[in-house]
């Protein structure tokens, strides 16, 4: 009897791993195909789709698709634009949203509850429903820069950055986190005569590693993967981010191998980043679901 049941357990274990692995294949096969195809000339790429070779680095393997992709479009510039816009937005967002949340969580002031309710209410407004009126708004917004006074934000970096700095979810995440910090700490610092700015920079921020990571990862994913907004506010190549550039690249009647190379260039760094920080990524998504 004992032998049978342990056999059963072994069999069930094998079954479990088989199921898990089959599902895993469903999730990775398109991505493996993408990376492998990026090294193959078009003719072979198409021929390979009819066999397992589609997922293997076999045949005529080279980096030619990558060179061709860079020749065809300023892929490097698109990547630079995306990294710049994403990086700056994440930085400003962490700073301003944590400041606002700090005020909501620790300070008593007139209007606090109303403002916080407005912040929470924005959570149910999908960006897609404000994109068009926002487009009209930014086309008429003034700006004072090094070149002097100008009107209209279309075709700039700022139109991709500034509207995305503050959002309800980021502020909300910080507020939730700050509420769990010991209030005694804040009040003790106040008694000792620390200014609010000192408490924010010296007491609260050093304790906020986890929520900063969460907010940064969520913002990073949103910003790097932006499509709709830059599509409608950026027409000039100079300011074009990767995802919009991808659309244009595709319309140039490009060979599939080159497209796979472009896709790999813009995807694999993010995937690598994700695999290294896997726990933090998953924790940050999970934390969006803590409160309904």
């Amino acid at each position: 009897m004992a032998a049978i049941s342990s056999d059963n357990r072994g069999l069930r274990l094998v079954m479990r791993y088989t199921v898990l692995t089959l599902i895993a294949i469903i999730f990775v096969f398109p991505l493996v195909f993408m990376v492998m195809s990026s090294f193959k000339p078009d003719l072979q790429l198409l021929r390979d789709t009819s066999s397992i070779r589609a997922f293997l680095p076999v045949g005529d393997i080279s980096l030619n698709n990558y060179f061709d992709a860079f020749d065809r479009a300023p892929v490097g510039l698109f990547v630079f634009n995306s990294v710049l816009v994403t990086g700056l937005t994440v930085l400003f967002s962490l700073f301003l949203c944590s400041m606002a949340a700090f005020s909501f969580a620790f300070l008593e002031w007139k209007g606090r509850n109303i403002l916080l309710s407005i912040v929470i209410a924005t959570l149910i407004v999908p960006f897609e429903t404000i994109a068009i009126p926002l487009l009209l708004m930014v086309s008429k917004l003034p700006w004072i820069g090094f070149e002097g006074f100008s009107v209209g934000w279309l075709n700039t970096y700022r139109v991709q950055i500034i509207p995305w700095i503050a959002d309800g979810l980021t502020i909300f995440l910080f507020v939730q986190y700050f509420k769990d910090l010991p209030r005694d700490l804040i009040e003790a610092s106040r008694v000792e005569g620390a200014s609010w700015w000192q408490i924010y920079t010296k007491v609260v921020m050093p304790l906020s590693g986890p929520v900063l990571a969460t907010a940064a990862i969520l913002k990073f994913l949103v910003m790097y993967n932006q499509y709709l907004w830059p599509l409608i506010v950026v027409q000039e190549e100079t300011y074009r981010p990767v995802m919009v550039g991808l659309g244009y690249f595709f319309q140039l009647n490009t060979a599939w191998g080159e497209i796979m190379a472009y896709l790999t260039i813009i995807t694999v760094p993010v995937l690598a980043f994700y695999l290294v920080l896997q726990r933090a990524f998953i924790a940050s998504i999970a934390s969006t679901g803590v409160k309904g």
Binding site: R16, L20, I23, A24, I26, F27, V28, P30, L31, L46, T49, S50, A54, A100, S103, L107, E108, W109, K110, L115, V119, T122, I124, P126, F127, E128, T129, I130, A131, I132, P133, L134, L135, L136, P163, W164, A166, G168, E187, R190, V191, W196, L221, N225, Y227, L228, L231, I232, L246, G247, L263, V270, L271, L275, Q278, I282, I285, A286, G289, G292
Partner: protein
Amino acid sequence: MASKLTTSNRAGWGFALPGFGLLALFIVVPFFFAFFLSLTNQRLISPNPTEYVGLENYRDLLSISVLTIEPERDDAGIIIRDANGQPEYPRVRSFTRNNPDFPQYDGMREWFRWHSGDNAKVVVATDVVFWKSLRNTLMFVLVVAPVQGALALGLALLINQRLRGINIYRAIYFMPVVVSIVVVSLLWRFLYAEEGLLNNILQTLSFGMFEGRDWLGDPDTALGAIKAMSIWQAVGFHMVIWLSGLQTISPTLYEASSIEGASKWQTFRYVTWPGLRNTAVLVLIVITMQAFALFAQIDVMTNGGPLDSTTTVVFQAVERGYGKQDISGGSTISVILFLIVLSISLIQRYLTRER
């Protein structure tokens, strides 16, 4: 508890204002602006001043009606039939183009029709494409929300077992979530192509029985193909939310149910599922909101075609507001979309409320 120590209007506003100001300017203002613009004839660039037009935009979008058409009869009152014995009908245009007897149908077009007895019932709308986009979006949400939610729960239960290396599987299932939907759409365009990977895999698996088809080029399969891909991309996201819900359920409840000798299904039904109630509401609302926002997949894969079979509400809002520079038309669609999303999340909350 208001304490002297933490009360400060100046510091409070000072810290909150930069972030809140941006949020107000770029989310709250355009939100109300959308309602205002939907009552005007605003265009992105126009030499003419903007005018208030009342509810005209809504009327143009939403006007819909059923037209009953009697078959053509000859002088003796006998129905004229074609070679197949089907009655012949006057053309819809004769009712909707400058017909003084039917001013209410003026400018409308046929959406679809069915037959009742010898009469034909024709659904006519001023803006058929918008109605199609509304139907497609609803079909998308109605399939994707429950299927994706259920699959994500299944995956979460699978991942929630204690097995060596389970975290690797969790990481893999989640992987498509960090890949941009634009990248995924373009990649799947190739998978779905007539000579593409999917047809080849299906052909191999069915030993050549399956004949390849152009998944995105066929109005019958295009939206379904986009649904499947969207679920593939996002299911890991909701798996993680279910997982965090699962982990809030106290292990002692599971111990108790195993002592009571509950079956797996009973444990799920009476321990796991009740514990997931709040998570379920959240998952459904989040998926629904994401599904209503369907845009990038359409823009990259089909551009709304073939025959408007994949056009969606957001796609129409962008095509008009940005493509045709018709800001007021795009804003009107945006407002309608928001009202739908709002009412659906209210309904979902009501149906799943604590009793």
